[in-house]
């Protein structure tokens, strides 16, 4: 009598022939896109993309219809739409990053980081002048906004997670509403409440005040999420050891949430670093490095990009792209930093 051992089979796993079939569907769809574009008046990239999509959806659903029936055909048909949606979401990102790199790189040179625009106009050759005033200005704005918004944002988050008072519901709602305040409205508000009646002059501080309004909701919401992740055991342990609430929060909860709170700050900075509308209204946009944020016009990257873009000559447009490239790089770096910090935070727990 022969013994046979049961071998596990995976009937759901894809076999090579399945991959081959998918590939052939793909190729047939590409081929039919070529044929259709060649013999009908449809032309251009749009024509190719459209016919390819229709052909692919048609072929896969036809195959599903023949082999598995109507429900499977519907499933395959929708699957192509779902894939199309994902592709259409990603295409603009790729295109934006690609164009910024392509158009910005010619404008990047070493002098960009050591000169300002006080001796140059946007229409000068690209070698003249640089971004120094814009970079220092943006740093100043971001730093001031950080100093003002982080305490308020974190206090709001603490109120929502630690105190849980009777205003928790309304405040959570208001923070959400605040995150939808258009940036131009924040600018107008500072204009009418601070700049005209009190300060009377453009300065970096005015811009930073407007940016603070835009930054608080991001910091508050992210910090709230982070603080909610801190296990309640820690708070109970702190109280059980005789700690008052404020000592528990200050010495246990906040240190435990440290990297998450830093992530919240970074995301807030990424949110405001490229904010343009309030900057245009409030900072005055100087062309010289201005170390004093409290008086005198302060240049910044968005203002520089805006001004160069509106100057319109090819050199100025190249400047604008170079500025955009620097700005996007800053935001990318901040974002990656926030990602790695928060993922480490999760992994450690």
């Amino acid at each position: 009598m022969t013994h046979s051992t049961a071998v596990p089979t995976k009937p759901w796993a894809k076999k090579p022939i399945d991959y081959l079939r998918n590939l052939s569907f793909f190729l047939v769809a590409i081929l039919s896109a070529y044929v259709v574009v060649a013999i009908t008046p449809m032309k251009g990239k749009l024509g190719y993309a459209f016919t390819f999509f229709v052909a692919y959806a048609f072929i896969t659903s036809l195959f599903a219809l023949v082999s598995l029936g109507i429900p499977a055909a519907k499933d395959a048909f929708i699957k192509s739409f779902v894939a199309l949606g994902a592709v259409m979401t990603v295409i603009p990102i790729v295109s934006i990053l690609g164009t910024v790199l392509k158009n910005g790189l010619p404008g990047i040179h070493l002098g960009l980081f050591t000169h300002d625009m006080s001796m140059a106009t946007p229409t000068d050759p690209i070698e003249n002048g640089g971004l120094l005033h814009a970079i220092t200005g943006t740093l100043t704005l971001v730093l001031l906004a950080l100093i003002m918004s982080v305490p308020l944002g974190i206090l709001t988050a603490l109120y929502l997670t630690e105190i849980r008072g009777k205003f928790s519901g309304p405040i959570r709602f208001l923070v959400q509403a605040m995150s939808g305040v258009p940036s131009i409205v924040a600018g107008l508000f500072i204009l009418s409440a601070v700049l005209y009646p009190i300060a009377k002059n453009y300065s970096g501080l005015m811009g930073a005040l407007a940016l603070t309004i835009l930054m608080i909701p991001t910091v508050a919401r992210t910090s709230e999420e982070v603080l909610l992740l801190i296990p309640n055991d820690l708070r109970e342990a702190g109280t059980a050891l005789g700690g008052t609430q404020w000592r528990t929060v200050a010495m246990i909860v906040l240190p435990a949430a440290r990297s998450g709170l830093i992530t919240a700050m970074i995301l807030g900075v990424a949110r405001i670093a490229g904010e343009t509308a309030p900057i245009l209204l409030l900072t005055g946009g100087g062309d010289k490095v201005n170390p004093n944020a409290f008086s005198g016009p302060l240049g910044s990257l968005p203002y520089y990009i805006w001004k160069s873009f509106n100057a319109g000559s090819p050199e100025a447009i190249t400047r604008a792209w170079a500025g955009l490239l620097v700005l996007v790089l800053i935001i990318l770096i901040l974002f990656t930093l926030a990602r790695t910090l928060s993922s480490r935070n999760v992994a450690r727990r």
Partner: protein, 327 residues
């Protein structure tokens, strides 16, 4: 043998009263927590206060008329002024509606892709890319839209006009497609797709696993499962996400100003190169505005603020309710 007398200490008073340090702490945190209320209140107050003069002299015409003109004599005194936001309000609605109509299907499909179709590694990468896109500055979208996207969108607009021109909305009477509300709408759509996608994705991810598995166990295909379980569960969340995107689109300034041809004329034809947007009006007129016109701009800002506040509040209300809905 005598038992030693034991002095029983007086029982300590037990209280739930927080100590003084805690009271101070709680006050400070509550004060900080109320900052959002204070700031929103101050915004409404100061914009209303600065715009009051104009709002009073224009009355309801500030919303209903489409005229924006101011004339001053040589000394700079205002002789005559008409401020009306109607054209800008219609333009704001058109641009943001175009944006939402384009963005919602794309976002829903990509949220479905992320949740139910994508392999795990792809899902992680895509989510961080999409989140990153939400942090891109609007000036980047504006300049990219103007220099890269606009030529192709104009071509698409001409296609739509050629085949669907008999529908009144797609009519283009002076044959002029450049910088139309449609172009602005497409740029805005690209800006709000990440927002709607991430809201929808989070709502879809909350769809109850037992129902999903039950649907599969009954032999449902993936689409049948989505139609029977995920869509009914997440519908109101998607609507809320769409309204969040609408709020963002209505308040967008720089990107719209860069690609839109601002004209003070009510225009319902989305493909025609004339439109408006309250926020871009403010940027356009701010540069050389007289003090009186600035007051009008403040009033416009107030209208925009209230508009976005209402849309956002409704959106948050709908999103929050999602968890409880679904059969």
């Amino acid at each position: 043998m005598s038992t030693p007398t034991v002095s029983i200490p007086a029982p300590r008073e037990i209280t739930t009263e927080p100590r003084r340090s805690d009271k101070v702490f709680r006050r400070i945190v509550t004060a900080g927590g109320l900052s959002s209320l204070v700031i929103l209140g101050l915004i409404a107050f100061f914009l209303a206060y600065s715009g009051y003069e104009v709002l009073k002299s224009e009355g309801l015409k500030f919303i209903t008329s489409a005229d924006w003109s101011i004339s001053t004599d040589d000394a700079g005194n205002v002789i005559d002024s008409h401020f009306g936001l109607a054209a800008m309000l219609v333009g704001t609605m058109l641009c943001s509606l175009v944006a939402v109509v384009i963005a919602v299907p794309v976002s829903v499909f990509s949220a479905l892709f992320l949740n139910f179709y994508a392999p795990n590694w792809m899902k992680k990468i895509l989510i961080s890319i999409i989140d990153m896109m939400a942090a891109f500055p609007s000036i980047l979208f504006g300049i990219w839209g103007f220099l890269v996207l606009m030529p192709s969108v104009e071509y698409w607009a001409k296609l739509i006009n050629r085949y669907l021109g008999w529908i009144p909305v797609f009519e283009v009477n002076p044959y002029f497609f450049t910088r139309s509300p449609f172009v602005a709408g497409v740029v805005l759509a690209i800006m709000i797709i990440p927002i709607i996608t991430s809201v929808s994705r989070e709502v879809f991810a909350q769809a109850p696993l037992d129902r999903i598995q039950a649907a599969f166990a009954l032999g449902a295909t993936r689409w049948a499962m989505i139609k029977a379980v995920v869509i009914p569960y997440g519908r109101s969340g998607v609507i809320g996400g769409a309204m969040l995107g609408l709020g963002r689109a209505m308040g967008e300034t720089v990107a719209v100003y860069t690609v839109l041809n601002v004209v003070f004329q009510i225009n319902w034809h989305i493909l025609l190169g004339a439109g408006g947007n309250v926020a871009s009006l403010i940027i356009l007129k701010f540069g050389d505005a007289s003090p009186y016109e600035i007051k009008a701009l403040m009033a416009a800002g107030l209208v925009l603020f209230l508009l976005t506040l209402i849309v956002n509040a409704a959106a948050n209300f709908i999103v929050k309710r999602t968890g409880k809905s679904g059969k």
